[in-house]
């Protein structure tokens, strides 16, 4: 009925966090630009073995917003969502509201948790792959 609302709420939070991280990164880059030049080789390599948080959050953001958008289309198709207030058709019938809330709490939360877990695995695999690639490059040199 309105299960996609929970991942949508998570997507909004992730979008805000991503903006904050981006601003912090820009501030750090402008303030500490001179310090970076003094980093030794080992420290530079350590920085390169990790994917930055902006990129990681961007993946989660795209997963969540993409899923939410396509699920919203499915709900519109099935007549569960309309483009005018109150948007969720279950809101028009008081007897359907508890069912809708239950669905949001069970299916919606499961969706958000599952997508986040997949993202955690994705980040872990990507970082390990990056580390392996850098190790191979170091061994060749």
């Amino acid at each position: 009925m309105g299960c996609f609302v929970v991942p949508m709420a998570e997507a909004i939070v992730v979008s805000i966090v991503k903006k904050v991280v981006k601003k912090k990164k820009e501030n750090t880059a402008s303030v500490g630009a001179e310090d970076v030049t003094f980093l030794d080789g080992e420290s530079k390599e350590l920085n390169q073995t990790k994917i930055d948080w902006e990129q990681k959050l961007s993946w989660l953001n795209q997963l969540l917003w993409g899923g939410v958008f396509l699920l919203a289309i499915e709900h519109i198709w099935h007549g569960e969502v309309v483009l005018w207030p109150p948007f969720l058709t279950a809101m028009n019938n008081p007897s359907e509201i508890p069912i809708m809330l239950h669905e949001m709490a069970t299916i919606g939360t499961s969706m958000a948790v599952f997508v986040t877990l997949v993202w955690v695995v994705m980040v872990y695999v990507a970082e390990n792959k990056l580390k392996q690639t850098l190790h191979k490059k170091c061994e060749r040199n």
């Binding site: 969540l64 699920l71 299916i107 599952f114």
Partner: protein, 94 residues
């Protein structure tokens, strides 16, 4: 059926993205859009199957049309994102 169609679109897009070394068409965004929906529908189908029972997959003409519509909509959104990012990227490079 819409779950199968979206999952197939996600797999095919991922194969396409992996075969191109550079992400110049931002295919990773399209992959993530399709994978996000596939994962959410997987949870929806599993929970519905466990709680209500019945068929795991809905195979009908209506579900097939919905699957095609959803994939086309995802493609349009990706094209819009790619166009907007490219338009934004050109003046920044200069």
């Amino acid at each position: 059926m819409y779950f199968i169609i979206t999952a197939l679109a996600a797999i095919l897009t991922t194969i396409g993205w992996r075969s191109i070394s550079e992400d110049k068409f931002q295919l990773s965004t399209l992959c993530l859009i399709y994978w996000g929906a596939t994962l959410m529908w997987l949870v929806d189908h599993v929970v519905a199957y466990l709680t209500e029972g019945g068929a795991f997959l809905e195979i009908s003409m209506d579900a097939t049309l919905l699957g095609i519509t959803v994939v086309v909509c995802g493609f349009i959104v990706w094209m819009l994102i790619a166009v907007v990012k490219n338009l934004w990227g050109v003046p920044r490079k200069n």
